[in-house]
């Protein structure tokens, strides 16, 4: 059938199974918005307050569902407003399709109004991007973009569509949704070598990341752990990958990770790394990192193997298929001595645990835990609150911790929570700080307009807590530009946006507020007072090793 370019774009979005997309209209994308109007019964568009909110929402949708999120913007400033969100998705390997309008092909390159070279701008932060020069290429390009976004290591793909290409007519042939590229296990001989290495280990430790979640390898990983009697830790991106209460799970490791998890990794003689990279926040000083351990690394992206930490066995392969082949080759083992050490690490962790009463950050998160359903997505922003959430939240199911890891994007949370709520149909939670919330709180308007059920817990300490913590520890308490003490009344602000909220200063008030928030239809803001001198502990100083770990801070 003969369709315009903009109709083709929307038809293919529907063909790919997109039920909801996020975006913001403008001059050079008007035709696509006209097509969205035409097909409004088949696909929903959520209008955000700012393109950044839209791209974070598409990202949150993708993280929560495992399907590609879609964001649409106009040219120029609309497109550049996506940049932080695209980079966030790139660093955390999230499948995202960004579609931007642009000026007509005849005007391209002439610095016309709202023209920007967005494929040039996003070159280093996309998995791939396209400038569509003619309507004949459009359908194939959009389909290929979907295939690329979800194949191998997922990532964002941007499509730049000039206005005349949206207008031009072309024959459209319906096609089934894009299928991800075929996945492969590692070569048998490589798996055998890895199995031999694993069979020789006395102190194995399994370290996993977002790749296990994206690769649906949770079950296989647990089977391997059971067979070789290994503890399991994860990077921040791995959180919610296995139930928090699982007896083998020691929690997140790294800069602010659980003491037992980081110590077990440090003392292991073998680290089986699954769908995870060795980011500096996870390893600290790499020359001292887990020096006694051999590394078996399975990752779908070959460039992660031995990139920063040398792997004895680096397997570029699908983690699930590879673990399935690995399982029969590894010997059943028990390591009572190793578990004795691990239990000692756990006891030490308990000893250092913050057991104060009252409205401490930890107690606030534990209070929230009691209200979480099995499938409640919890989004965060970035800073101290994010680490308190990562350390203390309790998850039962995968894809329920929605947080910006690699890029560490303040302002990510509210948009992402909206996207996660759309993706899952669940009442969603956002844990944020007063600093992060201040960056993108305009999306409260979106949440109100669309009645998005989201409980927003602002851990309000009046300072940029994480930066302040570094200033306390490493900059002689020079609190340069980290003291906010703004006069913002978040409850009144919620009211002004058409939402509701409450201020709490005790645990009981918080408990009642969260309960009310989950009953409320729409966004509910809880302004929770937190002391400005609270620390995130333990802490590996930047560039430090486990020998430098800070577990307690004196006055």
């Amino acid at each position: 059938m003969l369709l315009s370019g903009s109709d083709i774009i929307v038809k293919i979005l529907i063909e790919q199974g997109c039920d909801v997309i996020f975006g913001y209209p403008g001059g050079q994308i008007l035709n696509v918005y006209d097509s969205l109007y035409k097909y409004r019964d088949e696909i929903q568009h959520v209008l955000t307050a700012h393109e950044q909110g839209a791209v974070h929402a598409a990202d949150g949708y993708a993280r929560a569902t495992g399907r590609a999120g879609v964001v649409i913007s106009t040219s120029g400033p609309g497109a550049t407003n996506l940049v932080t969100g695209i980079a966030t998705a790139y660093l955390d390997s999230v499948p995202l399709i960004a579609i931007c309008g642009n000026v007509t092909t005849a005007q391209i390159g002439s610095d016309s109004f709202q023209e920007i070279d967005i494929t040039g701008v996003t070159l280093p932060i996309t998995k791939h991007n396209y400038f569509v020069g003619s309507v004949e290429q459009l359908a194939d390009t959009v389909r290929e973009a979907f295939r690329l976004a979800v194949s191998g290591r997922p990532g964002p793909v941007l499509i730049d569509v000039p206005k005349d290409v949206q207008v031009a007519m072309c024959e459209y042939t319906p096609m089934p949704a894009a299928v991800p590229d075929e996945k492969n296990a590692a070569k048998d001989v490589r798996i055998e070598e890895a199995a031999e290495c694993i069979n020789g280990s006395e102190r194995p430790y399994i370290y996993f990341g977002g790749g296990v979640i994206w690769g649906n390898a949770e079950e296989e990983m647990l089977a391997v752990a059971d067979k070789i009697d290994a503890p399991i830790g994860c990077s921040m991106m791995g959180l919610s990958g296995i139930p928090t209460e699982h007896p083998r799970f020691l929690g997140m490791q790294g800069m602010h990770g659980h003491y037992a998890s980081s110590m077990a990794m440090h003392h292991a003689d073998l680290i089986i790394s699954l769908g995870v990279r060795f980011n500096d926040r996870a390893t600290g000083d790499r020359t001292k990192f887990a020096s006694k351990a051999k590394v078996v690394h399975i990752d779908i992206d070959g460039s992660e193997l031995s990139k920063t930490v040398n792997a004895v066995h680096g397997l570029r392969a699908d983690v699930r298929l590879t673990l399935r082949k690995l399982l029969p080759l590894i010997k059943k083992a028990e390591h009572p001595l190793w578990w004795e050490s691990i239990n000692k690490f756990k006891e030490a962790e308990l000893e250092y645990l913050d057991r104060r009463g009252g409205l401490t950050p930890r107690n606030a998160v534990l209070c929230l835990n009691r209200h979480l359903g099995e499938n409640t997505p919890v989004a965060t922003d970035v800073g101290q609150h994010q680490m308190w959430a990562a350390q203390n939240l309790s998850f039962k199911n995968s894809r329920r911790f929605i947080s910006s890891g690699g890029l560490g994007t303040m302002g990510f949370g509210l948009g992402a929570a909206i996207g996660a709520a759309y993706g899952t149909g669940e009442h969603t939670v956002l844990i944020t700080g007063d600093g992060s919330f201040g960056m993108c709180l305009n999306e409260l308007a979106t949440a109100v307009t669309y009645n998005v059920p989201v409980v927003i817990l602002i851990m309000n300490n009046g300072v940029l807590g994480m930066v302040r913590q570094w200033q306390t520890l490493f900059f002689d308490k020079h609190y340069s530009n980290t003291v906010l003490n703004r006069k913002t009344d978040f409850v009144a602000l919620a009211g002004a946006f058409g939402a509701d909220g409450v201020r709490v200063s005790t645990l009981d008030e918080l408990d009642a507020a969260i309960k009310k928030g989950f009953e409320y239809c729409g966004p509910y803001v809880i302004d929770c007072a937190i002391d400005k001198d609270e620390f995130v502990l333990p802490m590996l100083p930047p560039g430090g090793s486990m020998d430098d770990i800070i577990v307690k801070v004196g006055d």
Partner: protein
Amino acid sequence: MNRYTVAVLVRNQFGVLNRVTSMFRRRQFNIIALSVSETESVEYSRITVTFEGEENNKQQLVNQLYKLPDVFSIKEFNSGNSVNCELLLIKMRNDADCRDEILTAAEAFSAKTVDYSKGSIVFQLTDISGRIDDFINLMRDYTILEICRTGVVSLEKGSSTIRKVTNL
């Protein structure tokens, strides 16, 4: 530090060179020379890149190249498995007192005189990079006005081709 030469077969499309070099830049690979040309097929372009680094840098460069959807195949070259050459144009000042020495040296290297004027001589030399380095070093005793070299191009010896190693 070692020197590596890698040939990359890419989609012959607008902006592909930019994608490849952008990746080199942001990951700070130390590129010595790079040449791009059309190939036996209109679908492909061939990029030959020479860079310095350690073995793990080379592995990382190859792995990162493989992640670009426009890259079809990659081939590493060394002097044993390949033929390599490079083209040099060098413009020397034409001084009466050293003219004979320059011309003799050029003859010894089989460099061709492609331009001759009262003030200058331009030589053209096609050879392996090491020989071109030697010739330039020799010319440093005289006055070099300008140098331009293409960077290495390489082909595998025998009938096997780069297309046999494909991405995906």
